[in-house]
Amino acid sequence: MADTVASTSSAVEVPAARSTSSPKWRLPVDGSIVFIYALVLVVGVGAAIYSERFRDPANLTNVLRQTIVLGLLSIGQSLVILAGGIDMSIALIGRLSTLIVAASFGGRDALILPLIALGVAIGALLGAVNGLIITRVYASPFIVTFGMFSILSGISLAIASGPVGTIPPPYLNMYDATIGSIPISVVVMALIWFAAWLLTSRTQFGRALYAVGGSQRVARLSAVPVSRTLVIAYVLSGVCGAAGGLFILARTGVGDPKMADGLEFQSIVAVALGGISLSGGRGSVLGTLGGVLLLGVVANIFNILQVDSFFQQLILGLIVLITVATYRTSKAST
């Protein structure tokens, strides 16, 4: 024993740097972001080669415009999921606030700005209710927001059983207006994505989101206002939901009591595809953008190829499972 090379004069400085259990450390760039964009690229290029209709520039801008609604909801969903929560009511918040707005229009141009403000305010209010219940009662975010989902779908049915509202034509410009051949809405959405990235990665609130999602206890001890951060996240999620609904209204021109159906699940799927951990605290909204683009491209291809809805569901499910399995195994191996 102890016949190994031993020397007391070795290294005066203690190289306590490495951890013996896992000496590798990961690059700051998350592999999942690279993966999701690679996937978007592969699917997109593949579709462009295969289908003439897909690679038509008009179709491509259309794909971008079609991702706006899901994009808005997915940004909101990203914020709450990063903070360790989930918002099952986000699509219904969009539906209810939009139905109220649609029903109040009566074709009056002058009401456009006030009613947009009203819609957003309703979204914020409902989000705040979610956030306050979750933080005050320490209730499970899934149950609370699912309860909200159920309540809001009931109220929506009470407000409208068929299409409602007369929308003034200028409102529809939100969807239709273009600069050259680029829809203004796409440009605005790009700015919103940038703002979302800035908000999550470079502001005090953004850091707080990650901290709260990582560990509420550590965050609280680290002087992070945990409850306030959570409430703001749900408020923003509500605002995103309302914004998504208002944009649907600009596309369809009528308050549809079935609108935004299932979008809460789609937004969660987009978030998961983008590599944000559903248990909170890690990932990036840039990944979510990748997830939204992937879903948008795939939906467009399905549409062009007239894929049977049975296969649509099947393929989507496979994409989700494969992607998430890839993330899990790559995480487990590091």
Partner: protein, 509 residues
Amino acid sequence: MIEPASEPGAAHECVLRLHAVAKAFSGIQALAGVSFDLQRGEVHALVGENGAGKSTLIKIVAGAYVPDSGTIEVDGQQHAALEPDQARQLGIGVVYQEFNLLPELSVAENIFLGAQPTGRFGLLDSAERRRRTLALLDRLGAHVDPDRLVKYLTVGEQQIVEIAKALAVNARILIMDEPSAVLPSHDMDRLYAVIRTLRASGASIVYISHRLEEIFLIADRVTVLKDGRSVMTRPVSEVSRTELVNSMVGRELKEQYPKPDAQPGETLLAVRNLFVDGCVFDVSLDVRAGEILGLAGLGGSGRTTLARALVGLARIDSGDLRIRGKSAPRNPAQAARTGAVLIPEDRKSHGLILSHSLRFNISLPNLSRLVRAGLVLLRGAETPLVQHWTQRLQIRPPGGDVLVENLSGGNQQKVVLAKWLAAEPRLIVLDEPTRGVDVGAKAEIYVRMRELARQGAGIVMISSELPELLGMSDRIIVFHEGRVSGELPRVEATEQAVMHLATTAPVAA
């Protein structure tokens, strides 16, 4: 220092022998040739600084890692590597620091989780399970109700369940990774008793610890690891504490505790007749700038509750608490604004967001100072702050983007210190600041504490390690069951005096 293998006669049977085991991870040599042997019925202590290779060694023996070279010999059989199942079959059991118990299951269910005794028709035989559990616990000389749910057990009892779980699959070689680090001090004697019982029954134990005192108490031999090599193996009766420390650090650690040198200044903390959350009763104390106040007491004596109250984490029932003249903070954020921070005991669950970078963790409590126009200034403010503190506390590796979960324990603790010291607090409450930290990092933390006091901070230090408390504190206040049982100035503070006060109820005033 190089010692020939000293086996007193062939009567001792070697159950485990590692020969020149090496292992590298992506170019970093975690183990550079470790030789180690374990006799039947021996407690063999394994010591070394964080990052010396102890965890890697355990994982190789447990079959979690495949060594790059060297051999593992179990009961005379040579292996190049072990599979986890194989290690278990060979009778190797590991009790990790983090327990692997299911809180909602009973003691007996946990112990036999992997190999449930079954009766006819393959149904679980809970009577048999209960009987075997009692037999196992009896063998350990411990008394835990087999039907109790694990979540209701104390940490010490949970540890015994972990040990029993290893024994349930016939472990004869038990590796214990810092078992005492998680225990409150009054549970340690029971752990030592269990270890002695096991040794007497012929089991062999590898005992990893940072507490040198206990090695002299329970180990037969000690092996020191340094930089992935075994640098010495000796019977503990032939080695002194100083020798042990020097060979771990590779240099002479002269003055372990820096001397107090500041004159106490203004009063930073004034506590009067404070009652907290049904755990702390009628406590009055002051902390002044430039001094280190030690809080002594047994586990559960109310020290941690008081510390939590200081930053607004525990409910104050009555009494007065003022920090720099301001009334008691309602939450840690408010406390931080008045300049008071709590550096918590459990760095993994209270101190750090492990899945995030050093940069993220250090700037978290300091963000308001790093923000301009709503945005965190990366190069302008955050990077310099992080660099300054990683350099000042010599955190390795120094890059700000390393994930904290990949740092060694000592460096993690330094990150916890850094994130709070960067806030330039005036009143610093440290709860067990050196738990699970190696000797080298400990000495560094002591120097920083003294430096902070000299710069005018008031420090409250909670520690279960009496030598450290005595060495660092200017004054010691002793707690007994939630009340102050006495105060000792530095010159009067001895282990005996502190323990006497810690175990006696205060005289009613």
